[in-house]
């Protein structure tokens, strides 16, 4: 399987789509930029014409630019540069499909942004098939000024889903850890939440001691993480909207690897209970009832829930080297081994359909890559080509995995499609970044 990917033509199109957003203050070092570096199929040619503006003064927002950047960053689309557009229609009656066939685009997006009143805008867009001249979709979305960027992401999501059959994830968020090493030898650890395109990054926790293992609640409202701020590990659950947080586990020894249950009511976690031996537990966040699921002298850690909440998958070295096992989420169940191929398989994460695991897969010779393991067959498919790849996390559509890797000695983020064909690098402007976790689809009111 690796050979297959090695043969894939490496093409760095070298376009930094979204770079530093200057003047972002405290989070300047948190900014990311996405570069598509590899794809094996011809990306779909599409033209996204700058939207018309009906309102006072300058346009309130360049929706088309964000839609263009989103679609290009996915690696599945090749948007036509605005400079190459023969015409710039904003209404259906202005479209001459022959113009677009000549420049060989398959699909065309036009739209308008209308100022309806103070802080009230309507975005209208239509997606056409250039060959047939048919309208594929057309929508009208209303938004306040601060939501125009989110509106652009929603438009990109709708276009992406219509043309690929896969729901878009441009409206989702990611969380990750950054570490800044200062000249005086001190370190700064930050937990950051950003839009899926790396923009709009904000620091939600900041500490001179390590922060690690962030994880989203299923409703996207809370993040659990490990902090060493008391010089011992403790698990916190922080509400994003308010910034308030609760210390949910600070037991003697290790408090690690939190994972919310699919209903958000429980946390799976790793504890050593002061005895030095790591086992998997569940903690009911409402009743505080703690239940032990594994009891073995081995390192049992990195729990991950199956989407149906029935099983907890975890890493254990009970057979010598680290491999993935699973145990029923109700205490008393039998532990089963899941992975057999490869010298090291760790930190499992379940695909949204529950059929596959993304794992850190050791190939020997100090090479660790992200692999997709089919749970039924146990067969691993290596998706990445780094040397120290880690921390895979599925996008909620199951089509992409974000992970951490190294580039020029620095920690960077990267993503791969789950078929391994599209690879993107998500560079950070400064410092090391790692442990990316993809948030769920946004829900109304979040």
């Amino acid at each position: 399987m690796q050979e297959r990917f090695a043969r894939v033509v490496m093409r760095a199109i070298g376009v930094v789509l979204l770079a530093v957003c200057a003047g972002y203050g405290a989070s300047a070092n948190a900014q990311l930029s996405i570069t598509v570096r590899q794809y094996s199929e011809r990306p779909l040619p599409i033209a996204i014409v700058p939207f018309g503006w009906q309102g006072q003064g300058e346009p309130a927002y360049d929706l088309a630019a964000v839609v263009t950047a989103d679609l290009a960053s996915s690696g599945r689309f090749a948007p036509l540069p605005v400079a190459d557009m023969v015409s710039r229609p904003t209404e259906p009656t202005q479209v001459n499909f022959r113009d677009w066939r000549l420049v060989q685009v398959d699909n065309l997006v036009i739209g308008r942004l209308v100022e309806e009143g103070p802080d009230r805008y309507t975005a209208i867009f239509q997606l056409f098939n250039v060959l047939s001249g048919e309208q594929l979709i057309g929508f009208r979305l209303t938004a306040g000024r601060n939501d125009l960027r989110a509106t652009a992401h929603r438009i990109a999501d709708m276009i992406y889903e219509e043309l690929t059959g896969i729901p878009g994830v441009f409206s989702t968020q990611i969380a990750y850890v950054s570490e800044e090493r200062r000249d005086d030898g001190t370190r700064r650890f930050r937990l950051i939440v950003a839009d899926a395109d790396g923009e709009n990054a904000r620091v939600i926790a900041d500490s001179p001691q390590p922060l690690m293992s962030p994880t989203w609640s299923p409703d996207g409202r809370r993040i659990a993480y490990v902090s060493f701020e008391g010089e011992q590990s403790a698990i916190y659950v922080q509400t994003l909207r308010t910034g308030t947080r609760e210390r949910v586990s600070a037991r003697p020894g290790i408090n690690g690897a939190p994972a919310f249950s699919p209903d958000g009511r429980q946390l799976a976690l790793t504890l050593s209970q002061g005895q030095g031996n790591l086992d998997i537990y569940t903690l009911d966040l409402g009743t505080q009832v703690l239940r032990q699921l594994t009891n073995d002298a081995a390192i049992d850690t990195e729990p991950a829930w199956s989407p149906d909440g029935r099983f907890i998958y975890f890493t254990s070295d009970r057979a010598g080297s680290a491999q993935v096992y699973r145990v029923p989420a109700e205490p008393g169940g039998r532990v089963e081994r899941v992975t057999y191929q490869g010298v090291y398989n760790a930190r499992p994460r379940l695909s949204p359909d529950g059929r596959q695991l993304a794992v850190v897969h050791g190939l020997g010779n100090n090479v660790f890559r992200i692999a997709l393991v089919d749970i039924a067959s146990g067969r691993p498919l290596v998706l990445t080509d780094g040397r120290l790849d880690e921390s895979p996390s599925f996008a909620p559509n199951g089509a992409q995995i974000i992970y951490a890797t190294r580039s020029n000695g620095r920690g960077v983020l990267a993503s791969t499609s789950t078929d391994g064909r599209i690879q993107t690098e998500i560079g950070s402007v400064a410092g090391d970044v790692r442990e990316p976790v993809w948030g769920p689809y946004p829900r109304p009111g979040t």
Partner: protein
């Protein structure tokens, strides 16, 4: 024998205290005096600070061992390598003779593999050191552990040398 090693330990404590100038250091005399420490601290200031005592070979050896504050490990292993036995024995005797002193054992791993697994590995290493010190007579109250996994490397870099130096337990003395 016990008596002999207690005396030796006591001397080692005095001598070690006299050269406490590093960050992760043994409790030094001044600190002890401020804290209203016992007899050992008071005499440490007078004797250890001067150079009146002729150091014996044994004492020198004990002092040398006490200056070592890091135990290194093989990849994915928490086994104490034989070359660290003497050093840990010296620290264990020191702790047994100084029940008011405590040491925090900070376990670490190299960057290979997943992060939470490496927390487990660091903990396992810290526990291995803890057991050896306990066998030498240190009491449970004197020994605490923490694992930082790969989160706080001693050395940056992704090569064998950096990895070797990062797979470690650091002994951090506290009072």
């Amino acid at each position: 024998m016990i008596r002999h090693s207690l005396v030796l330990t006591f001397l080692a404590a005095l001598l070690a205290a006299g050269c406490g100038n590093r960050q992760n250091t043994l409790p030094d005399a001044a600190e002890g005096a401020e804290a209203g420490g016992g007899f050992e601290d008071a005499s440490t200031t007078g004797v250890g600070g001067g150079s009146g005592i002729q150091e014996s070979a044994l004492e020198a050896e004990q002092r040398r061992l006490m200056e070592q504050l890091v135990v290194y490990f093989e990849y994915d292993s928490a086994e104490i390598r034989p070359e660290f036995n003497q050093m840990l024995a010296a620290h264990g005797r020191y702790l047994a003779a100084n029940p008011n002193v405590s040491v925090r054992l900070e376990g670490h791993a190299d960057e290979r593999g997943s992060r939470e697994y490496n927390i487990g590995l660091g903990e396992r290493r810290a526990q291995a050191v803890r057991r050896v010190l306990a066998l030498q007579g240190a009491s449970p109250e004197q020994l605490s552990t923490v694992s930082y996994g790969e989160e706080r490397p001693a050395v940056l870099g992704s090569d064998e040398e950096a990895w070797r130096l990062n797979r470690r337990v650091e002994l951090v003395y506290r009072r």
